[in-house]
């Protein structure tokens, strides 16, 4: 079994079914007066057929024995996971902590993740934030959230 294609095929199949239902709810309409769900329904129907074919093909013996685990072996996937978590935390705290504080912490964390010494990471983060703030806030007039500290 090709686990990659099997799992992703199932995900697309369930997604397309839910979209098709949404398309029907919105109204497909007749061909001479297509409704709001017309393209949505037909696109999801084609996607459903293709994902179903993919699921069937993936379970045949000739599809090979590809395991999802293989894709994450011998790679630093933990870096990816931590980076995504850092991005989510950044977005969640941006308004409360303010751009400067949260961006500084975010950059220090990412530099540290790249095995850079903490003091070098902190200095680099400080310089990066200063440059980014100057360009975006002063030159391009982007209004960043100031947060509870006021900066």
């Amino acid at each position: 079994m090709n686990q990659h294609d099997f799992v992703s095929g199932l995900v697309w199949l369930s997604f397309s079914i839910s979209v098709a239902v949404e398309g029907i709810t919105l109204g497909i309409g007749p061909f001479n007066n297509p409704g709001a769900g017309f393209v949505l329904f037909w696109s999801s129907l084609f996607l459903a057929v293709l994902s179903f074919c993919q699921v069937i093909r993936s379970v045949r013996p000739r599809a090979g024995g590809t395991l999802i685990l293989h894709s994450f072996q011998d790679v630093a996937w933990i870096n990816v996971l931590l980076s995504i978590m850092a991005l989510v935390v950044y977005s969640a705290l941006l308004a409360k902590a303010g751009f400067i504080v949260i961006s500084f912490l975010f950059m220090v964390f990412l530099y540290w993740l790249g095995r850079i010494k903490l003091w070098v990471a902190a200095t680099s983060a400080l310089v990066t934030i200063a440059v980014a703030y100057s360009i975006f806030h002063f030159a391009l007039l982007v209004q960043f959230p100031r947060g509870l500290c006021g900066w």
């Binding site: 990659h4 393209v39 994902s51 993919q54 790679v75 630093a76 980076s83 391009l140």
Partner: protein, 515 residues
């Protein structure tokens, strides 16, 4: 006599328009944006990992504060600038800075290993300049008649052209055709999120007010091509090795020129005509130009061993294609590849719809951008040759400094669009999806192109059906849409037929064995 008079009038008209364009492109503000775009494009091309698509997406929100002409000049400069820069990493590191330079690695890197890095880099830069400039001349000559012709297009023709564009992207995808088609439909579904343009009913908004206007192209592209690419690179532990050679003699010798002149001319022509076709023209053209040179060469065995024609042909082809790909975008309003689909988004954000009315309604934008391409090509030649040592130093910047910076720029870019964290969340979702897509062998390009073309396809298909009383046969009665759809069917069939014929052969063999 009448014909000569008409031609003379049109030539004078074009020259006048070009002069008008130069008067806009040479304004200090636009010159600066052209320079900035070219510089950033070269940088993006030089740095492996982030391509022109990701870079245009990241810079897109920043351009909201600029004038429309300035914004498009900068983003266009970034796009064709990346074609120039892409060759540097191909030649020095054997890693293409972007997809169109993959083929340059074969002979460029070999030349560098033989101590001829300077000649390879010089030929790549000169070839790019010549092809880029010829491409702009072609763009100027083809754009006007094509946009006049496009005025006659109705919803049937537009629908057929969009289908052809999507078919080419599917056909030219690297992996499974089935998966590329699936990505295409996924893009169409996602493009339907938001208010329906005809009935004003909210579609798939999940009750979120932010989704009423639909999903913005910038966080989607930034996520898929910026964040996704960085995440993929973060899991890699290998270190890029830079070739240790002294870069000298950047000006190709007389012998180099004589060996490459045919390759340059053919590469430019191949690139120009393939660039007009929808779907990754600049990537395909570089491969095709290389293949053509190898076939025409008296010494095909030299290819892959450091032949200068192997650098000249693909580099001229990809630059010429990058320029000519603006023709369908500016005249028909149909972006032929992913980078230009984001540029299409930039036009829309600035309240301008590219297409047949662009030249009539916004001549300052059309002629300003076109003239800036002449200026940009000169800037790129001047930038590339003396700054090659600097680009080599840039290549030495460790990834652990570079990737956090890209992520921060993505975050700022996503936030600055509407001063809202909602777009950041969208970007993170598409970033994670982009990473998983690569792991599961799905391509982002068909998704983004169909996402951008989706609203146009939806509107034109429904309008066409409304006006024709629901008759699909009308698509095959109108000559332009019939030819275009016929071409799309042929392209799709050519990719599916080998698979079917293989299956038939297996079936025949099995039945023969059983008998």
């Amino acid at each position: 006599m009448w014909l000569v008079g008409g031609l003379q009038r049109k030539t004078v008209e074009t020259i006048n328009s070009l002069m008008f364009g130069f008067s806009i492109a040479l304004q200090p503000e636009n010159l600066f944006f052209c320079f900035l775009g070219s510089l950033l494009g070269t940088l993006v091309g030089v740095l492996p990992g982030i391509g022109p698509v990701g870079a245009i997406a990241i810079l897109l929100p920043i351009t909201f504060k600029l004038s429309t002409t300035g914004a498009i000049i900068m983003l266009a400069g970034l796009y064709y600038g990346a074609m120039y820069g892409g060759s540097t990493t191909s030649i020095l590191v054997n890693i293409p800075g972007e997809a169109a330079s993959v083929v340059t690695c074969m002979d460029g890197y070999k030349m560098a290993q033989q101590g001829r890095a300077g000649a390879a880099l010089g030929m790549a830069a000169f070839g790019s300049f010549i092809a880029g400039t010829v491409g702009v001349v072609g763009l100027m000559l083809f754009a006007l008649p094509l946009s006049r012709m496009a005025l006659k297009f109705g919803p049937h023709e537009y629908f057929a052209l969009i289908v052809l564009g999507l078919t080419f992207v599917i056909y030219l995808s690297h992996g499974s055709i089935g998966k590329a088609i699936m990505m295409c439909f996924l893009g169409l579904i996602l493009s339907n999120v938001g208010m329906d343009p005809i009935t004003a009913i909210p579609r798939m908004t999940l009750g979120l007010l932010e989704l009423n206007d639909g999903i913005n192209i910038a966080p989607v592209a930034m996520g898929l091509f910026g964040v996704g690419e960085v995440l993929l690179n973060l899991e890699r532990t290998s270190v890029t090795e830079l070739i240790k050679t002294k870069i000298k003699n950047l000006f190709p010798t007389r012998r180099d020129w004589s060996e490459s002149k045919g390759a340059l001319a053919r590469g430019t022509l191949v690139g120009f005509f393939l660039g007009i076709l929808p779907g990754g023209g600049h990537v395909v053209s570089s491969f095709l130009a290389y293949g053509l040179e190898k076939r025409l060469s008296r010494h095909p065995e030299k290819f892959g061993q450091g032949a200068i024609e192997g650098v000249a042909a693909p580099e001229s082809a990809n630059n010429s294609a990058a320029t000519s790909s603006f023709i369908p975008l500016l005249t028909l309003g149909i972006p032929p590849n992913v980078s230009l689909s984001i540029l299409f988004g930039a036009f829309l954000i600035h309240g301008i719809t590219p297409g047949p009315f662009l030249i009539r309604d916004h001549p300052n934008v059309f002629w300003g951008v076109l003239s800036s391409m002449y200026v940009g090509n000169v800037m790129l030649l001047v930038l590339n040759l003396p700054l090659i040592p600097l680009w080599v130093q840039v290549l030495k910047v460790p990834d652990r400094y570079l990737y956090p910076l890209i992520l921060l720029f993505c975050l700022i870019g996503a936030y600055s669009m509407r001063n809202s964290t909602f777009d950041i969340y969208i970007m993170i979702i598409f970033g994670a999806l982009g990473y998983l897509f690569r792991k599961f062998a799905y391509e982002g390009a068909p998704l983004v192109l169909s996402f951008v073309l989706g609203p146009l396809l939806d509107l034109n298909l429904r309008q066409a059906l409304l006006t024709s009383g629901g008759r699909f046969s009308d698509f095959f009665v109108r000559p332009i849409s019939a030819v275009t759809l016929g071409l799309a069917i042929m392209v799709l069939a050519s990719s599916v037929l080998p698979f079917v014929s293989r299956k038939l052969q297996i079936f025949k063999k099995v039945t023969d064995d059983q008998l």
